[in-house]
Symmetry: D2
Subunit: 338 residues, 4 copies
């Protein structure tokens, strides 16, 4: 059950309400929005009693019952789509936002080249891993802070925003310092320490679905972030693990309409990791847009055959350019911009 | 290994080649196309010997080595897309073909109503089950021949072609008599007796992917039909079984580009059985078209809430009309007709 | 809802009850057991009305409400384990029954050799495919009737019972003539024509779980057979399809206790098809017995490396002998015989 | 490629070898075993050159090529089973070790009661979560350090060793202080920061398989720990996610023989989380032992119906006692102790 405080509620009124709820034997989770403070009462059994006791307290606007296990991220809690603005980039509205770049940041020169290519083709955000989670301890683990610096330079030169992954709690401060969007990878979708930590910063978070996470678990992971106070979560469907072998993962395209139905958060598609093969990336990207996705995150490399990781699934510059044109046409056909 | 005979090869030349191959100890599979006869030599170990022995025989155009386990359905065997024409309906080319109608044929009146609705919205083919495979022996099993007759009446009145499922070998002759396209359902994708039987008729076959079939097994099932002499196979992706529960199955949208890469056969999408929920059908249908599908098969009912089966996943008339308009816009954006 | 007639109910009393039920607007499914006749009323909405109308009719012993979607195969319908006796072989009781033999029947000589080996090691039933369902139309499809004759000879020589697969409706009569147990393979688990056909014979049926069938669907498939009048169904867990690649399928060992909880039918394990690798077969077989399985079906070949199919997963004679000894020890430890 | 140094190799010799390898352009991973130091050369392309250059250096015993992507945990690296001794408890040898206890530590009183019960029944290790990873941020998250203290008291009173989960890097020191075995849960199997951190302590680690991890990924996760210097890893199969719904996860019993084939590390089974239902736990536990598992980890509660979490899957005292007796009988039958 959720108590929404009036926008002009005083601090003392909020405290009064919390005290009352705790006296009734419940734990709470406090969420201070930009406009309003919200109090989530955990595990309410007797709803009518709570309603009776709380509704008439001063400063309370209303009480909302949310039946879904996820609360702050649910449509029941907030009807309108969440829009996330990073300067002039608007995610979650009519506009389609494309994030593109290499799997891993390799050298400054390569990164700047790729940044330039994706910028010209119409991408708004540059992707690139500085801290890489790898299945093998013996694989290239990323450039670390050096990589973050290269990303910052690319931003400076091109005006692109940057999104990059953070893989451990201790790296959150440094990554936050450089990135415009913090990425939480699929392997860490249920790394609750990490989720809570990024939930305490105000930086937008790109949360990737775990390779075998249900949509409910995916939204619960988002809830971990939002319930810590950071409402700026972008969800990303990147394929789930199935028995099929022609693709690396199976893109669950249905996740787009399902999540739009359950949650107000923006949802984008990662066709590169899903397909694992550049030949299928464009078809999946177009499908994502037609299905209603808010954007895409795509691996692009100036020379895919020389990439240090994931070259096989990276688009080369001309294929990326062609894809952007196709997407523009589809976006227009369904009444959206890019 | 495949021997392609010249288009003017005489019957005696074909026989001579077969005799030669059999004398070399191999079994063959004969495929008489409209223009050319093709001989598949099964399990060749010594390719160069075969080449030497056969290439110079009279009537032989060329020998082709096909590495894929599926032969006649592979792109290696035939580069150009297969187009299937049923009078004025053209499947597999630039045109997008929509099949629509109820899950099961219920009454003549209802069927005619629905046929009229889908026709007006732009569908070219009417779907409807007369023989229904059901998980429970106690569920409604379809109207049988009566259902076929109703379908024929609907065709007469509207000009729509009809597609309907055949569930057992003994029903193939009767269903063939009424239907324009024979559907093989997901449960029967590896019912080899049934595949071989429909392979001996010349009627187009809509083959649905098994709920856990790999794409390779799916194409091997098509190979069973084509290797019996019927090249008119339409593949249909209808969702695979995964752990996710918000949808009945997980539409494997990647199957569209993957199959177009591996095979010359047309591939369409069934968003209704994949989603299992009408609210998600339109998004999946649009995704299918954007991904390059040749068409769609969609459940539509005039009163979904009263349908005898699958009402939950059926579009009502106005949602179907809206979807057709959206698809037209997307089709146009990607340079295709509908 | 199920009406159980008294064991001394007259034919006219049964007919009277059926007439009454049909007059109330319901369809029925009649099941004539050895001792009692049972009438399944399909899709009852008003249970108390039915009870009132039927309970007092002459010949009626009692009415049973079964909540599971499967009826005759459920524990609710029949509390005691079903025991299937084929002469001196008893399946479903305390005894553990081992079926063993080659994947496919190859030659008479090989079959007799293998039969002899498995007999000596303690198997009671000889397995071997005469009609083989194969993913590729170009793979060895089995010897057909010739294979059945070889099996019959092996039975004659060794006293082993035989189990062999039937893959199409038209082959049921001939296979029934030779086999002691008819096997329905995983691909045909939802081939309803085939299920109904074997349901009309009295021969025991070994029903394999489909590679992606839920346990509920598996039991519904058994219900198709039993509701046609054949109560002698043996269920077989043979691995389900997952993402894991070190084994061909993932043996769902939990299916043993789950099915024993839901149904009175015997359940056995096929470790050979699950593992797809002889090195893991013995561990799975032992696990199956410890989990409470009624038996095993195992691929054994005198020279696995020369087998025409599935050699990789076949045990050689000495490994099979060792396995039988291990199983005997485990069986004894859990209070069972072999 | 792995360089194994002689047991009497001097520090300077080790340094000399490392310098040589690095001069050849390779990175290394150093592993200091109790008896020998091992140097892993990462990503060798020219094996014969390395062999020539390194083999004759002083202090080098031999070079080993390991083809598996996992190195230190592979059978190729170490033939003999790894045995992990915690005082008188021996894991990985002939003995079967049972870990049992509540899902979460709740109160001191309850914990002591349960500890007493499992000790008497024959368990050697007490399980119980103090830090609980939960899908929902609103679920009970465990008692934290308080829980660790209760566990320590239970150890003091009963002599049982204790295993408890660590969910974040910052908790590793405190948990290490109390626990005899650190558990890494399924959700954190690819939390590489956490894996590396526990790899730097010498405490045995119980590593659970991710719900959708392949066996290869599972062993790679173990490699992360071992390559940091901690060889004491116990693997735990706890069920993988599939489409089946009668059980919470599908116990991949095949993982036992497969992992024993690939790795020298001990592997145990968690039947409680796999089944998610106490009625099926005993059958799975027995199957695990028969398949060759080194042990079991089982949820036991004195009053399962009152447990704060996972009560549904917890055995009550009498069922646990019965299970231990059954396991003893099976263990004896397969020549093992408990």
């Amino acid at each position: 059950m959720i108590i929404i405080m009036r926008s002009d509620a005083k601090k003392s009124e909020v405290e009064e309400v919390i005290k009352k709820v705790e006296n009734l034997g419940y734990e709470i989770k406090l969420f201070k929005g930009v406009k309003k403070t919200v109090i989530h009462i955990i595990g309410v059994s007797d709803r009518s009693m709570i309603r009776k006791e709380i509704e008439q307290l001063s400063g309370v606007e209303k009480l909302v019952s949310i039946l879904q296990p996820f609360k702050f991220v649910s449509r029941e809690f907030k009807k309108d789509d969440t829009k996330i603005n990073i300067d002039d980039v608007n995610l979650g509205g009519d506009e389609i936002t494309v994030m593109a770049g290499p799997c891993a940041v390799e050298t400054e020169e390569t990164l700047l080249k790729i940044a330039d290519i994706v910028k010209k083709a119409g991408a708004k955000i540059l992707r690139g891993g500085a801290f890489k989670p790898r299945t093998s301890p013996y694989s290239f683990q990323g450039l670390g802070q050096k990589g973050l610096e290269f990303l910052a330079k690319a931003r400076e030169k091109t005006g692109l925003k940057i999104v990059t992954e953070v893989v451990s709690v201790e790296d959150v401060p440094i990554v936050t310092q450089y990135a415009d969007i913090l990425q939480i990878g699929a392997r860490n979708m249920q790394n609750y320490s990490l989720l809570k930590t990024v939930g305490r910063f105000n930086k937008p978070v790109l949360l990737k679905r775990g390779i075998s996470a249900t949509i409910e678990e995916f939204l619960m992971a988002a809830e971990y972030i939002v319930s810590e106070g950071n409402p700026n979560v972008i969800l990303c469907e990147r394929g789930i693990r199935t028995y099929e072998r022609y693709t690396r993962y199976t893109l669950d395209i249905s996740a787009v309409p399902v999540i739009k139905n359950l949650s107000h958060l923006p949802i984008i598609i990662d066709p590169s990791h899903a397909a694992g093969d550049w030949r299928f990336v464009s078809a999946l990207a177009k499908a994502g847009i037609a299905a209603g996705s808010s954007g895409l995150i795509i691996e692009v490399h100036n020379e895919p055959e020389k990439a240090l990781s994931d070259g096989k699934q990276s688009l080369n510059p001309s294929n990326f350019k062609k894809l952007m044109e196709d997407i523009k046409a589809i976006a227009k056909a369904i009444g959206r911009d890019i």
